[in-house]
Subunit: 334 residues, 2 copies
């Protein structure tokens, strides 16, 4: 069976379902005929945003709850066929200023979600969103799944723990869990109201606003970017396959790009804004990880996934989305 | 300066200080002229035992507190030169039946200890007790520090997180933290009242009691063992060196030994007991990790540490200790 047909009439639960990746995944799943329930706590500084499911409100179920609440999760996993487990605290900066909230959401809540699955629905299929930040500063490039994990911040440590609980619950209890380690994801429906969730959303916003994009140092640091539609496709493939249970997979982008090239491309497509190089702030320099990009060879081999959206057209589509809908993503300054 | 002289008049805090390794370390530090404070919560099923510091009660300070209590830890780290951070939930079995307590002690409490150090005593030197269980089932042997970490149980995941918070706090805040990844430690003052903290203490007890030592399968699984006096020596070396900050080191044993040989050696030295091979229980077989032993080349290079106590004489000394003091470690059955 085609992995897209798999979702017809499947009951699917998405934690972080009103967030960036969750909402894009939810929309796709509804289109594929799935019965979709979103769990989201709508914490103000996080990515949940009701506008993200505009036009789909009547075709899915929204359940406001916090993944840290073990009782809600025990009730919510019942009767579900697939869980896309995307809720997380994703700001590396916030993980250092408030390490305990990061631990509660990215580690403790993951354990309680897995306990809920194990006790209430041991047949459920679980796909977790890991991150290439688990690897830390690369020993070699591109990062493959055998690269040692030596994260550079509290968020990376907790994401690592959250992922490995999934693998342990597979190995010890047979839970059908897998993890996709995401790299920089961009596209419509991202959090844009502050700059603590990574550079890409912030750069896009500055380009839409016609402002100055600032880069540290010479801007030659390489990164890979994945369009959210490609990320959604990876989750759909992983959720429909039992070949991936107990395993972890990198996602990746088509080709590494320097931050400077990326910023220039955004300004060029937007037809406004500017790019400026500034010296490294000492505190940021100390935790910088240099060039980083991932190999997606493993998921390509096992699931046939590869990025399909080229960077320039993906960015153009992304800019167009926020040019039209920016009022739902940030407050304009006057 | 010799690393032993370093401790004269140093203020040293030991979490888990009434436990197996903590108490052996405390006794040695008192003998070296350090001012020693032990933190222990004396949780009944854990390793804390007041008898472990018999004869030293008046030469050190005991502070009963739980490392999960952030306020106590903030007060306790003040004014200390060195923190040996040994408190932990060490039962792999318990980590699966009660994963949240394991997370609270091995992950969350570590974060709050590090926050306490960062805010109250940023100059403190910290040595953490990691574990080779962080590596999981070996990809190759012996395990070195570059071996990927893919733990097999919740305890391994949380110990990994606890260790990496230490490294992150070094890298981000300059905290002088390091981790020693312990393998199987044996010797006087171990928890022996139940068999959920690993095989070695339990085998020693069965030999002292003249009972049957049961091994799964053919008993040919290889393990390495370190005598607690050698482990203490490694902590002393690491605590006195700034060359190890931000780094992790394996400990190890002299030569890998099969569980069958180990059991036979114990029965032979004790002059009583017996050894029996039994089939693998299904639940244990599924999480078994086969042969496992570590390379200690890295700590040997950097700190000159190596195991010095050969297995047979170490076991003989260990058996003699428990033959004399067993009433302080377990209740005799009648």
């Amino acid at each position: 069976m085609n992995y897209l047909d798999f979702y017809t009439n499947q009951s699917v639960l998405i934690t972080g379902g009103l967030g960036f990746i969750g909402a894009n995944l939810a929309r796709r799943l509804v289109d594929l005929g799935a019965r979709v329930t979103l769990v989201d706590s709508l914490i103000p500084d996080y990515g949940g945003n009701r506008f993200n499911i505009a036009g789909y409100e009547d075709r899915l179920h929204i359940n406001i709850a916090d993944v840290r609440d073990p009782y809600s999760m025990r009730a919510l996993v019942q009767g579900q066929d697939v869980l896309f487990n995307l809720a997380g605290q994703v700001s590396h900066i916030d993980s250092m200023t408030d390490p305990f909230s990061d631990l509660e959401i990215n580690a403790r809540a993951q354990l309680s979600i897995l306990e809920a699955c194990r006790h209430e629905n041991p047949e459920i299929k679980v796909v977790y969103a890991g991150t290439r930040q688990q690897y830390g500063k690369p020993d070699y490039l591109p990062l493959d799944e055998k690269h040692p994990q030596h994260p550079t911040d509290v968020n990376g440590v907790n994401k690592l723990a959250g992922e490995w609980y999934h693998i342990v619950y597979h190995n010890a209890y047979g839970l059908r869990a897998t993890s996709l380690r995401l790299t920089n994801t961009y596209g419509p429906r991202q959090l844009m109201k502050h700059n603590r969730q990574g550079f890409i959303g912030w750069f896009v916003r500055l380009a839409v606003e016609g402002k100055e994009l600032q880069l540290y140092g010479d801007g030659q640091q390489l990164r890979d970017l994945t369009h959210v539609d490609d990320v959604v496709d990876a989750f759909l493939r992983a959720g429909a396959s039992d070949a991936v249970n107990g395993q972890v997979f990198n996602l990746g982008g088509s080709a590494p790009v320097s931050l400077l090239s990326l910023a220039q491309m955004l300004v060029e497509i937007a037809g406004q804004g500017s790019v400026r190089l500034v010296p490294w702030p000492e505190a940021r320099k100390r935790i910088d990880i240099g060039d980083v990009y991932s190999s997606y060879a493993r998921i390509q081999n096992v699931l046939g996934w590869q990025p399909t959206i080229d960077l320039r057209s993906g960015l153009a589509q992304t800019l167009a989305y926020y040019q039209q809908h920016h009022q739902h993503y940030w407050k304009d300054e006057h």
